[in-house]
């Protein structure tokens, strides 16, 4: 069973719909025990970094998720991906979950519209099981104003928008998608399927 972590920050049902469509058993939960029993975790998120971290901490889940990520696969989506890093810089410097080395910074793209919103073409970086079968040049759906800044060794898919923008990041069995796999058509579903099939 895949548990979708509910901490009051968005897009839970879209992710659930996609997992249902793919035939993976999943549950939306904020119960530590249920998260503990799940085989895999998905950390979604829409909103701002500091507020989301506060909500995770208030729910008593920040430390718990970081601990669980040592034992089972974890996938952060959009803001959920950003929270995997050590630091966020949205409004104020905020400590993240620290599961992947790096920080989250505002996109600097002179002459381009912010947020970076729409279907962006991707390039492949380091090999990772979630990007299996994904072709370079495929397009994924992004909506964000902040991006991860991390070592290339942690980046499996990326796009260009006023510089390099990580799309799929990973560290061991911790994964993060800046794009919305649940809104990225067949390519996004393939990435979720790859996650669901991890053993």
């Amino acid at each position: 069973m895949i548990a979708i972590v509910d901490y009051g920050a968005g897009n839970l049902f879209s992710v659930k719909n996609a997992l249902d469509f793919l035939g993976f058993e999943s549950a939306i939960s904020s119960e530590k025990r249920q998260l503990d029993n799940a085989e895999k975790l998905i950390l979604p998120g829409v909103g701002a970094f500091p507020d989301a971290m506060r909500k995770l901490e208030a729910a008593g889940l920040a430390g718990a998720i970081a601990a669980m990520a040592r034992e089972k696969p974890l996938l952060g989506i959009c803001l959920g991906m950003q929270l995997l890093f050590q630091w966020g810089h949205e409004f104020e410097k905020t400590k993240g979950l620290g599961l992947i080395e790096g920080s989250v910074e505002r996109i600097e793209a002179p002459g381009l519209k912010i947020p970076h919103m729409g279907w962006s073409d991707i390039k492949k970086g380091a090999a990772c099981p979630l990007s299996d079968g994904i072709q370079e040049g495929s397009r994924l759906y992004f909506v964000h104003s902040y991006k991860a800044v991390t070592d290339m060794a942690n980046i499996s898919l990326y796009t260009e928008y006023g510089g390099l923008v990580p799309g799929l990041v990973f560290n061991g069995n911790v994964f993060g998608c800046q794009f919305h796999p649940e809104k990225s058509g067949g390519i996004g579903l393939r990435i979720l399927k790859n996650f669901g099939e991890l053993t």
Partner: protein, 260 residues
Amino acid sequence: MLAKRIIPCLDVRDGKVVKGINFLGVKDVGDPVELAMLYNKMGADEIVFLDITATHEGRGTMADVVRRTAKNVFVPLTVGGGIRDTDDFRALLRAGADKVSVNSAAVKRPGLISEAATIFGSQCVVVAIDAKLVKPAGSDGAARYNVFVHGGRIDTGKDAVEWAAEAERLGAGEILLTSMDTDGTKSGFDIDMLNAVCSVANIPVIASGGGGQPEDFVDVFRKTGADAALAASIFHYGDMDVSKVKGVLADAGIPVRILY
């Protein structure tokens, strides 16, 4: 690099698609969910539902249409038509919409844009503007376009370009600009009106009204700063499909999302 988006729009009344459509392989030609699934398969980058239901009772059916679509279609969904307050936003977002578009209610009460942006985020607030040329460009200045509301029946006297800029300041994440002069003509998008609005907008602009041939889509992306183009009837009658339009755009060197 971002792709230019092609967005089919479905007019829905009491949970049924309004215009007659005859596609092969669609069981119920009036079912918006089936059509959305078909458009998705053809490569639509986003799907817009415009609710033209007049009665209050019929309104609940739109949330149901969105809910059923969101279980089967995994591209962004935008819903508009008759949105009055943030409760309407919440109901549709909960049902699975990614964006909600507001038109008349925002003109009447611009604060709705900032309220919705604060609660749900700018990325899901689309401001739809129906505009019409009221004074052509001349020696005495630039062309003037006015904002019309209530399905284009009422001239608000508001300048469309100024309204677009104001909507952005209030927190809109996107502008959906429909030219009432080209809408339904299939003679091409309103390049001049789009340029006027794009010149003040720092948020994406969706061009609407007039797309009839694939070349019209090439034109709108070559000649204006529009980020997306929306069309309804041309996709409905089956003589042109989304993938065909995208093929022509790709051949013209315009970045589009092509399904592999």
